[in-house]
């Protein structure tokens, strides 16, 4: 079990003939084209090689937790959208799940199905655009990214039709969903889901065998299995390091035990950027499988249980977690009998996955540091909260 922080190589500066050399200290970010938001890495370079790296957080910090502690339970639901703004649906779900545990509300079956559909569509949106961003970080001038966005657009249209907003959906409620999907929505969703594999085929043809992508990503940013577990890495990144751990399978929350799907993972020998990229590509296929089953299995019925809009839970502590596209998204709530949560804590997968950034980047080239950051899949709204 290796949990120690990586130590920067002992670096001796060469002094020769009165000439002094020093390391190049570059502050990458907070305004850098590929730090995925206002994120900063203080990098020390020897030529192009990274010899030290310190991530710097907090440029987007707004103390989401403090805000939520001064607000009713329902009131912080729209703020959860803004955590990982790519995946507002799963953020909503994690929060709703925790709150439902707190007050023990039953969710109607149709709502559960719709939740699964929304969450898996979100996963498609996240993975497809992450792969696009990742290849963009490799320098591909946005072509894969724009293909990804073309497909994302179709899914965002579905979100807009269902919830009224494309990204800040605010669609889930304690005990179900805010409203039912409009008429014909399920058919449109089926259409999108049926066409997605065609796009994925093309995407794989474009990316998966490209020699440049292979040689850029393989052997870069390796993360060992032990370190991944110890550092609490979750989501596709953990599975790329060879751990078969998917909360959809482990917790079987909601109705995930009704669906047949597989979890792709590696044998844990390498755990490099290529594995992380490929695990996401493969996961999308499984999401489509779940979506097809969910769209076939959905029945009629109400979508909102009879939960009160404003409630006062009894004093209790809960921790609810879901498998968000980026990893384990957890909400830790402590109720004290008032309409406001006494303690509201988000367990952000993006932040915790960044723990090992330094370990993965040391000794790599500066160009690799960028793609390693890209392969971690962070959203700064969630890192800084």
């Amino acid at each position: 079990m290796s949990s120690a922080t990586a130590i920067a190589p002992n670096y001796e500066l060469i002094q020769q003939d009165g000439l002094e050399t020093s390391l190049l200290e570059v502050s990458m970010g907070p305004h850098h084209p590929s730090t995925h938001g206002v994120f900063r890495m203080d990098v020390k370079l020897d030529g192009e090689t990274v010899v030290d790296l310190q991530p710097v957080f907090g440029y987007l910090h707004r103390n989401h937790e403090k805000l939520a502690e001064n607000m009713s339970y329902l009131g912080s639901m729209p703020f959860t959208d803004r955590l990982d703004y790519f995946n507002s649906m799963t953020n909503n779900w994690a929060y709703a799940l925790a709150a439902e545990k707190l007050v023990e509300i039953e969710v109607p079956e149709r709502a559960d199905y719709l939740r699964v559909i929304m969450a898996e569509l979100t996963r498609l949106v996240n993975h497809v655009s992450l792969v696009g961003f990742f290849i963009n970080d490799l320098g591909a001038l946005g072509t894969p990214l724009l293909y990804a966005f073309r497909e994302r657009e179709k899914i965002l249209d579905l979100f807009e039709q269902a919830s009224g907003a494309r990204m800040m959906c605010n669609y889930f409620r304690f005990g179900g969903l805010r409203n039912d999907v409009p008429e014909g929505w399920l058919d449109r969703a089926r259409d999108v889901v049926d066409h997605f594999p065609v796009f994925l085929d093309e995407y794989e043809q474009l990316l998966c065998e490209n020699e440049i992508i292979l040689s850029r990503t393989q052997g870069v940013g390796c993360l060992s299995r032990d370190l991944a577990i110890s550092a609490g890495i979750t989501g596709p990144m953990l599975r790329a390091s060879g751990v078969n751990y998917d909360i959809r399978k482990v917790d079987k929350y909601s109705i995930y035990d009704r669906f047949q799907f597989r979890v792709p993972y590696t044998d844990g020998n390498v755990g490099d950027c290529y594995d992380r990229f490929m695990v996401r590509m493969l996961e999308m296929r499984e999401s489509i499988r779940i979506l097809k089953q969910a769209l076939d299995g959905i029945g009629d019925g109400p979508v909102l249980g009879n939960a009160p809009k404003v409630f006062k839970p009894k004093p209790a502590e809960v921790y609810g977690r879901v498998e968000a596209p980026k990893g384990e998204l957890g909400f830790y709530l402590i109720a004290d009998g008032t309409p406001k949560p006494y303690r509201y804590r988000v367990r952000p997968p993006s932040l915790i996955n960044l723990t090992v950034l330094r370990d993965m980047c040391l000794g790599q080239k500066v160009a690799d540091a960028v793609i390693i950051l890209g392969s971690i899949d962070i959203v700064l709204g969630e890192v800084d909260r």
């Binding site: 079990m1 370190l227 110890s230 609490g232 209790a316 502590e317 830790y332 303690r343």
Partner: protein
């Protein structure tokens, strides 16, 4: 739902620990925390190799009304003062056994909060403990890199504490009504 962890054996092995039934949490004395954590991680019965969530909870001194059933059967409401405290909460899971969570709390005082850092046991605590230090002011002994993480280095105070009051020269958005408008009109607001 994942399987819960049997906590009875921990209580037996480490007499200093308590089980908080209401919160469903294991309360650990800070001096023993690292030892117990390592044991929980390595013991075959638990293998809690994955620390998911680390956070602090700040409890102010408060008055709690409790219903006490007396010997003669009558119920009486008693008010007692709960002392202030600071909890650092760890949610532990096992990836190998796919069990969890075990809630693990280190309890300390509010004034000089100091607990044992569990970063040497689980790497995932590194950034989260920094966050707890930043937002709650809990000092983690033997944390490898204890600095502010989300607030800037010059920031004073710990904003997640329940008694934190924001400084007046804060950058308010001057929405044109309410108390914020008053502050705005007093002319001290930086826009």
């Amino acid at each position: 739902m994942s399987h819960t962890v049997n906590h009875e054996s921990i209580l037996g092995k480490f007499p200093g620990t308590n089980w908080d039934q209401e919160a469903g949490a294991l309360i650990v004395p800070t001096v023993q925390a690292k030892e117990i954590a390592t044991w929980l991680r390595d013991n075959d019965a638990f293998l809690l190799d994955y620390c998911s969530n680390v956070t602090g909870v700040d409890y102010l001194e408060c008055e709690v009304k409790e219903k006490v059933t007396k010997e003669d059967g009558t119920v009486e409401t008693v008010t007692r003062t709960e002392p202030s405290r600071m909890d650092v909460v760890y949610h532990l899971y096992s990836m190998q056994k796919q069990t969890g969570p075990l809630v693990f709390k280190q309890r300390t005082n509010r004034e000089q909060p100091e607990v044992e850092s569990l970063t040497p046991v689980w790497r995932s605590c590194e950034l989260q403990e920094r966050e707890v230090f930043d937002l709650f002011g809990v000092n983690f002994k033997s944390h490898p890199d204890q600095r502010r993480i989300l607030m800037w280095d010059e920031f004073e105070g710990h904003p997640m504490r329940k008694d934190y009051t924001e400084p007046f020269d804060y950058e308010w958005e001057p929405t044109p009504h309410d108390e914020i408008l008053e502050k705005h009109q007093r002319g001290k607001v930086i826009v």
